[in-house]
């Protein structure tokens, strides 16, 4: 029982990280129609920026977090402006190709600026364990999960209840209609990339607390993408739930079956879900009136 609970907790923590990165992915797809395969590398660079503030520059935890988030927001906006703006309306193949090469480019830039070796550790959440009666829980896991949950909730509330969030949902429905209403669609697309960069970075920072600041952080993109598909490519809430589901499945399977079986299990789950719910659990079905 204790083993199972540990697996669940670690699965939820991983899942919340996948969820955050997947939200960024879904947001970009929903608003600009681009499948951003460079999401993992944006996470990497954002996390490295945070590390730069906390480590060499010696800022405190909260200021580093703030600057990390702000600069990764800016970074997302710059990426959109430079590489994706010209692609609006082009075929999806061009978009995928560009984002894949963008991921390679960003990996190269990261190596140039920070080197390819793992960076020194930077502790984010205080370590230690609490004893909850019949099993032990690591404090940093709980804090990580709560932090991720707060960020995800803020994002969901932002989309559902704010004016800008409504405008972003509107842009996802139809660019031309929104332009006809006088709304600056390009500005909203840029902001959506900024938010995606920021959400991904926060996920990356939480992950780096567990596995350290290394190039492996960019591989989270590979796990976050099935999360986005399972949840439904048009639903931020779905992305979060998809991330949690994938995290749980990965963790439980690797605990009981074997370490290497975790990631394949996530993809098997993806295939099964796609068979029965091709739009994902919360994806928006095409509205057809008869």
């Amino acid at each position: 029982m204790e083993v199972f609970l540990q697996l669940v907790i670690s699965g939820l923590v991983n899942g919340s990280i996948y969820g955050l990165v997947a939200v960024g992915f879904v947001l970009i797809y929903k608003c600009s129609g681009v499948l951003n395969f460079a999401q993992g590398n944006m996470v990497l660079i954002g996390a490295y920026i945070f590390w730069t503030f906390k480590g060499p520059l010696g800022f405190g935890l909260l200021p580093s977090l703030f600057f990390g988030a702000a600069l990764s927001f800016l970074f997302g906006m710059i990426v959109e402006r430079l590489s994706l703006r010209p692609l609006v309306g082009q075929s999806i193949l061009s978009m995928i190709t560009v984002t894949i090469f963008l991921s390679l480019l960003l990996e190269g830039v990261t190596c140039i600026m920070w080197g390819s070796n793992p960076l020194s550790k930077a502790d984010i959440f205080p370590k230690g364990t609490i004893n909850l009666g019949f099993f032990n829980v690591m404090i940093d896991n709980i804090l990580a999960f709560c932090f991720a949950l707060i960020v995800m909730t803020v994002l969901i509330l932002f989309f559902q209840y704010t004016r800008l969030g409504l405008a972003m949902r509107g842009v996802a429905e139809g660019h031309q209609i929104m332009q006809a209403l006088g709304i600056r669609v390009k500005k909203i697309l840029t902001i959506s990339w900024g938010i995606a960069g920021m959400a991904g970075t926060i996920g990356g920072i939480i992950l780096a607390d567990k596995i350290g600041f290394g190039l492996g952080l960019s591989h989270i993109g590979i796990a976050a993408i099935p999360a986005a598909f399972i949840g439904g490519l048009e639903s931020p809430l779905g992305a979060i739930l998809g991330g949690l589901i994938i995290g749980l499945v990965e963790s439980i399977v690797s605990g009981y079956v074997g370490n290497a079986a975790g990631t394949p299990a996530a993809y098997v789950l993806l295939v099964i879900v796609m068979l029965f719910r091709p739009y994902g659990f919360f994806g928006l079905e095409r509205i057809e009136r008869v």
């Binding site: 429905e173 006809a180 006088g182 928006l284």
Partner: protein
């Protein structure tokens, strides 16, 4: 107020759609733009509202002036800021959003403090919409979607409303209702309306002036009452030809009367 002077519009630099259109829209007026399919009516509206730029189209000659300022090179966002809003054809609602969310987005460019009051204004024009406010707009009926789309434009307090085929696919009673609302909106808010319609009868009933377009040119224009009485219009657009006489097959031609304007 709105003045189109001999505009030519091309798509993709190759397809010439408008070949010299001139028309005027005065303050507070309702002007009808009639014509068959493919005449270029929607393109004219898109040239005014700037949506042409989103579709590889451009005004290659002539000018569009609004209150003395040239607007043909501006993007749709700038033109909407000046108070010219287009209600596109085909009832394009933002499908997965609710009716009220559609309306709120219509008022996005206006100050947000007045949103509640503007919503109340729209619900006053369309009482049925108030009951449907939280329904997903993609699932509403055609008439209801037309109300959403028009209400959305009303939220922006336009000075010029470009209405593209509001009666398309609607039941006759619904068409009457929509037209009464257009007339009321024009009267109460002093909004000028440029009305593109294939339903010439309905359009000429509320318009003061009308233009008839064919193949990218204006072929006839005049006060609505004289257009409605014009023999050619009656035959080709209102379906009132000579009844009761026996017709022989040798007489049946595409155009029985030569169109007097060519």
């Amino acid at each position: 107020m709105l003045n189109l002077a001999n505009i030519e519009v091309m798509y993709a630099s190759v397809i010439l759609v408008l070949r010299g259109i001139s028309l005027k829209l005065g303050e507070g007026a309702i002007v009808a733009l009639l014509g068959g399919n493919g005449a270029g009516k929607t393109t004219t509206l898109k040239a005014i509202s700037g949506l042409l730029h989103t579709e590889l189209g451009e005004v290659t000659a002539g000018s569009i002036e609004y209150n003395g300022e040239r607007i043909d090179k501006l993007g749709p966002e700038e033109i909407a800021k000046r108070g010219i809003l287009q209600v596109m054809e085909g009832r394009p609602v933002l499908e997965h959003l609710s009716a009220e969310e559609n309306l709120i987005l219509g008022g996005y460019i206006v100050k947000s403090a007045d949103t509640k009051r503007d919503l109340d204004m729209v619900y006053d024009y369309f009482p049925k919409l108030k009951m449907l406010r939280n329904k997903t707009s993609g699932y509403l009926s055609g008439g209801e979607q037309q109300m959403v789309v028009m209400g959305r434009a009303m939220m922006g307090h336009p000075k010029v409303m470009l209405l593209d085929e509001p009666s398309l696919g609607l039941a006759p009673l619904m068409v009457e209702e929509i037209y009464q609302i257009v007339e009321r909106f024009n009267r109460e808010e002093k909004t000028s309306v440029l009305l593109v319609e294939q339903n010439a009868r309905a359009a000429l009933a509320i318009a003061e002036y009308g233009y008839v377009m064919e193949n990218g040119r204006v072929v006839l224009d005049g006060p609505a009452s004289s257009l409605a009485e014009n023999e050619d219009i009656k035959e080709f657009y209102l379906g009132l030809s000579v009844m009761g006489k026996k017709k022989s097959y040798s007489e049946v031609r595409h155009y029985k009367r030569r169109k007097r304007w060519l």
